[in-house]
Symmetry: C2
Amino acid sequence: MVSSGFRATLLKLGLEEERLAVLEGKGGIVEDEFEGIRYVRFRDSARGFRRGTVVFENGDVVPGFPHIKRIVQLENGVRRVFKGEPFYVEEKVDGYNVRVVKVGRRILALTRGGFVCPFTTERILDFVDEGFFRDYPDLVLVGEMAGPESPYIVEGPPYVEGDIRFFLFDIQEKGTGKSLPAEERYDLARKYGIPHVEVFGLYDSSRIDDLRGLIERLSREGREGIVMKSPDMRRIAKYVTPYANVNDVRIGSRIFFDLPHGYFMARIKRLAFYFAERHLRGEEFDEYAKALGKALLGPFVESIHEVASGGEVEEVFTVRVKNIGTAYRMVAHFERLGVRIHIEDIEDLKNGYWRITFKRVYPDATREMRELWNGRAFVD
Amino acid sequence: MVSSGFRATLLKLGLEEERLAVLEGKGGIVEDEFEGIRYVRFRDSARGFRRGTVVFENGDVVPGFPHIKRIVQLENGVRRVFKGEPFYVEEKVDGYNVRVVKVGRRILALTRGGFVCPFTTERILDFVDEGFFRDYPDLVLVGEMAGPESPYIVEGPPYVEGDIRFFLFDIQEKGTGKSLPAEERYDLARKYGIPHVEVFGLYDSSRIDDLRGLIERLSREGREGIVMKSPDMRRIAKYVTPYANVNDVRIGSRIFFDLPHGYFMARIKRLAFYFAERHLRGEEFDEYAKALGKALLGPFVESIHEVASGGEVEEVFTVRVKNIGTAYRMVAHFERLGVRIHIEDIEDLKNGYWRITFKRVYPDATREMRELWNGRAFVD
């Protein structure tokens, strides 16, 4: 249910009364609260309100971040998306998407799903200069939080050695969600010292070999991939490295039964198109095939052994926070997401930060695995 | 729609009028015809009528063949299914399931889905002695048709060098679907010279190491697996070799987009449990991992190249028939199954048989692959 104040706001913003009733009925919009700040988040899309959109009491609207289209054949994809026109190539950083926004006097970090994230909100000012929002209160900084100590992602990019960092990759207007042109974003990031994803420069479809070389290098360096953007930000497409596809499979394999089949199959598909485009054969192909096979089976088998000896399917992760209260707010946040999590350890780093170790348990995956290990006979 | 004669038969057999109407409404039962023989096949299950059940005009009922339960942990599975009791171990042959039955004066071969298969019906008397049905008109011979020249399966077991063969593995009563005890079946097969799947003997859970050794040998020999059966046929469980799991993946990879994700994931799961149970590590594990990776990617990449150079995703298979008319009836049969197929070649083998070469095209998989190759950008 949405309170009457928000109803009025949403209607004023153009959401039709009938549509609002339907959304409420199926839980497509939910009213929520973070430290006294009330907001509505869209769990489903509605005309003009993309999934993940957040509306605040003061009428501020932060549109959901759109899904970026993917290509799996680099050369033809680049031609088809950008025709002959130039495009910027930026690194696709492997982390979680946040929208950073000033609402009233608070700076908040929103997850893709439209939650105010307690952890990211606490930490964001470590990375982003508040001055930006004084000058541009109506802009939203969109970026990736990435690093080995992350609450949502098991691993980070190789160049983030500890903790977590923020990497800007888009600046949008509140309300419309319109992106600033890429060069304006580069200028603002420079001016305010906001860390930005690496920009590899301006390419066009005639430089496909350079682009291929870039992909090869990023893959060797254990990086996720690239996002290609026309300077006006109207055309955007992403492409990931074979390294990232294999690595995602490896990370997912440990919690095999908790992931949809499509998670694995999508990555195998991307690898197959990579091999087909590159005409990889012989030893190079065999090496990748072996890496894929090991990624699929290795952590899965380890997980079975864990469960067979009485353990559970689980993941351990750490985050650094300034206030222990933030850690407990994260536990509450995960519980609302239906995730079973608990704090394993709290360590005083003596530099104003605490390192919190969480354990996430996968009860359904554990049960499934235990039953199969115990010899259940099943029809498939 | 089901004609009035069949309605009366089905009602007499105990199908409730209301249930019959529902089944008809959603196409759960379909009336069909093969060379003047009319029959009804159950596409859905109804109380007392399993999916795949066939009812003939004379009231003969051939129950659908039940799905055999699978175990993925051999030792615990055997203990759980058979307790301490002995069980026969028979080869699981990689082919397609047929039920052979005499109806009136004709001997017919029914597919799992309940169709009279024109090909198998023409060929079945090459393998099965008609005398059996003279003596036992109320029994159904259930077996696997397997070999390199098969209309439904791309490959056959290694020991069938050409053509196709029949391997008995169950004898059931018409009407009830009750299986004869295993030893009675072995006797009847011997007496009538009906080819039978290999029987590896009587085991129990104390001989788990022998059973493991058998699995290893079958896997080395490129065979599919085993079916374990209590002598009274009340408890049955199957277990497949790692070879078969990898090989299935390899065969499926060529038509990746035509198969459900679960096809691949189920086999990866079985492999993972095999490795976990055997504690395979090091080189042996790496070899299998590589084989799995190559199986997943190799034929898939070849298929992409085929489509990229203007071809289609397709499979070619051959069968041997006595009458060319049978080949055309097979084309019609496939068309009813929604499969796009055409005859590529007809060769007179000069021994009373014709070798027919079919090509099966996968238009949806081809279209999907072509679009991705051509650089389509998509949200996943």
